[in-house]
């Protein structure tokens, strides 16, 4: 069944969009990532104009994250206090990121920078997570108890706060900084930032994996809602018909994904996310390194 999208001005198969939304929704619920880093390239691939894809994707992430958070709230695996601290940092970071983005746009080559950002961050995060989870799996197999988190310099910082759900008593400064950094990257790369946020919470803040997913989804809702409004009012590129098709699949997928996520062990969950991140990274790296079949590309006028 073909559907004409009023803003994108293309006609696409409705079932294809429902399917894509569903798959990305499952991943979103399982890993606590928005799925933007997967969905946006997929939308380009089926012929949605990039500007519309990026903006509409933000709207769809709001829906799947909200659906995911509700499932996590029921399970009490959302650290609202930690989420709020991260969100404050995230919004500050997003504002800074937009400024950086516009500066780079004026310098040209912003596309390249975004792609390089993806390759570097996905590669580093995916690689580290992969190695770490492999080690963790090996340790549990050999029967040794997982090493207890050590006290490090982070615990010496002031403004300590108790995060009961996460079982942490740490300073608010590290989560704030993580929020700002993720916000900046999210604005530049045009995604919710879950795939950076999740590992940062696990490895930098030492939060338990189970709590991380719900908390990440919680703050993603607000960051992407903000992005959607920004795109809708400045670029007019949010396609509501496209968004509805994607999010119907997405919200159902997120519910299924959350249930799958609960059944998996934390190490397994992390290794799967690591593999997925590395796969996307590899694809993007190949695009940059291999000679494209068509050297020329057509874009809207203005800006080089």
């Amino acid at each position: 069944m073909q559907i004409y999208l009023p803003i994108a001005e293309v006609s696409v198969n409705a079932f294809l969009l429902l399917g894509l939304g569903g798959i990305v929704g499952i991943l979103s619920g399982m890993f606590g990532v928005g799925g933007g880093f997967l969905m946006t390239p997929l939308l380009f691939f089926i012929g949605i104009p990039p500007a519309v894809a990026v903006a509409t994707e933000a709207n769809q992430i709001v829906a799947s994250s909200f659906s995911g958070v509700l499932a996590h709230l029921k399970r009490k695996t959302v650290d609202l206090r930690m989420g709020t601290v991260l969100l404050i940092g995230g919004l500050i970071g997003a504002a800074v990121g937009v400024v950086i983005f516009n500066y780079l746009k004026a310098q040209g080559q912003v596309d390249l920078l975004v792609k390089l950002c993806y390759v570097v961050f996905l590669g580093v995060i995916g690689g580290l997570m992969f190695i770490e989870s492999l080690n963790a799996i090996r340790k549990t197999k050999s029967g040794k108890p997982p090493a207890r988190k050590k006290h490090n310099w982070i615990h010496g910082l002031p403004f300590k706060m108790r995060f009961r759900v996460s079982g942490l008593y740490i300073s608010v400064i590290p989560p704030l900084i993580v929020g700002v950094m993720v916000g900046i990257l999210a604005a530049i790369m045009g995604v919710g930032g879950g795939f950076i946020m999740v590992p940062a919470m696990i490895y930098l803040l030492g939060m338990p994996t189970k709590v991380v997913v719900g908390t990440s989804l919680f703050q993603i809702i607000f960051v992407t809602a903000f992005t959607t409004l920004l795109h809708a009012t400045t670029n007019f590129t949010v396609d509501i018909v496209l968004a509805v098709l994607l999010l119907v699949g997405g919200v159902i997928g997120a519910q299924i994904g959350t249930r799958i996520g609960v059944k998996l062990k934390a190490e397994q969950l992390r290794i799967l996310l690591a593999i997925m991140v590395l796969a996307v990274c590899g694809k993007l790296a190949l695009d940059l390194l291999l000679m494209p079949s068509e050297l020329y590309s057509i874009g809207a006028s203005g800006g080089h």
Binding site: M1, Q2, I3, Y4, P6, I7, E9, V10, S11, G47, N59, Q60, V62, A63, S64, F66, S67, G68, L70, A71, K74, Q109, D111, L112, A225, T228, L229, H231, A232, T233, T234, F236, V238, I240, V241, A243, V244, L247, V248, V251, I252, A254, Q255, D287, L288, L289, L290, M291, P292, E294, L295, Y296, S297, I298, G299, A300, S301, G302, G303, H304
Partner: protein, 256 residues
């Protein structure tokens, strides 16, 4: 029979045309307005007509017919990738001032036979001529390869079509063809031109427009997004939140 009655019908509509040329086009379209609805999946337009003459059919080679349909033109930028430090990056760019968002050329014979280069240049009929480029920046020598690439890319995705031998001409008087418009249409006026040629020279031409417009919900959403962007954005968010909550509630019901 039907065709003839249609032709007679349009014949009367166009009787008021000037009679300067010896041969004139009398045109009919199966529709002069295309409405884009939610389930719009491309459209086929039947273009038919007759050649009106005051005198007998001229001697020599038979008359040939060329039909072009052009979508609204937009300025675009064509970029080229080059390998720099091991990775492929966009380097050179050429602005094309005006490239139609859709362009179809249909003719009653091979284009190089029914149309000379000079006439093509004057009337901008073939695909390369229909694209206007003021010229590339001075540092780019091979600017033609950019316009060639533009045509190649758009032809591969069927946005630019060249279908020779697709116009049927009967008795040097009646002609008909059909143009397939793709599903991804831009709104606007689609200029339809008919050229009559003899020995490669254009002896007569005729021009009309087909109006392509979004209707119903498509129109409403499009206008809302432009005129009330904040409300549109909030509406998108409300739908997203409602859908997220709805799915969560539905799954809870299923499980209990």
């Amino acid at each position: 029979m039907i065709l003839r009655s249609l032709v007679t019908l349009v014949f009367w509509n166009f009787l008021t045309l000037s009679t300067a040329a010896a041969e004139e086009v009398v045109l009919g379209l199966s529709k002069d307005r295309i409405s884009i609805t939610t389930n719009f999946d491309g459209s086929e337009i039947l273009i038919f007509g007759a050649i009106k003459r005051e005198n007998a059919i001229p001697e020599g080679e038979p008359v040939q017919v060329i039909v072009t349909v052009a979508g609204p033109s937009l300025p675009i930028t064509v970029r080229r990738k080059e390998k720099k430090l091991g990775i492929w990056v966009n380097t050179d760019a050429v602005d094309v001032d005006s490239a139609p968002s859709f362009y179809a050329v249909q003719s009653s014979g091979p284009l190089f036979e029914v149309l000379t280069d000079v006439e093509d240049l004057r009337h901008k009929i073939s695909v390369p001529r229909a694209i206007r480029s003021v010229g590339a920046p001075a540092e780019i020598q091979d600017s033609t390869s950019f316009t060639e690439a533009l045509i190649r890319i758009r032809r591969n995705s069927d946005i630019y079509q060249l279908r020779e031998d697709s116009v049927e001409v009967a008795e040097q008087t009646l002609f008909r063809t059909s143009v397939r418009l793709p599903a991804a249409l831009t709104e606007g006026d689609y200029v339809t031109r008919i050229f009559l040629t003899r020995e490669g020279r254009v002896v007569s031409s005729y021009q009309t427009t087909i109006n392509v417009q979004k209707v119903g919900m498509e129109r409403w959403l499009f206008e809302l997004s432009r005129e009330q962007p904040l409300i549109y954005g909030l509406m998108s968010l409300a739908i997203a939140i409602a859908a997220g909550w709805g799915a969560s509630a539905a799954f809870r019901l299923i499980r209990t």
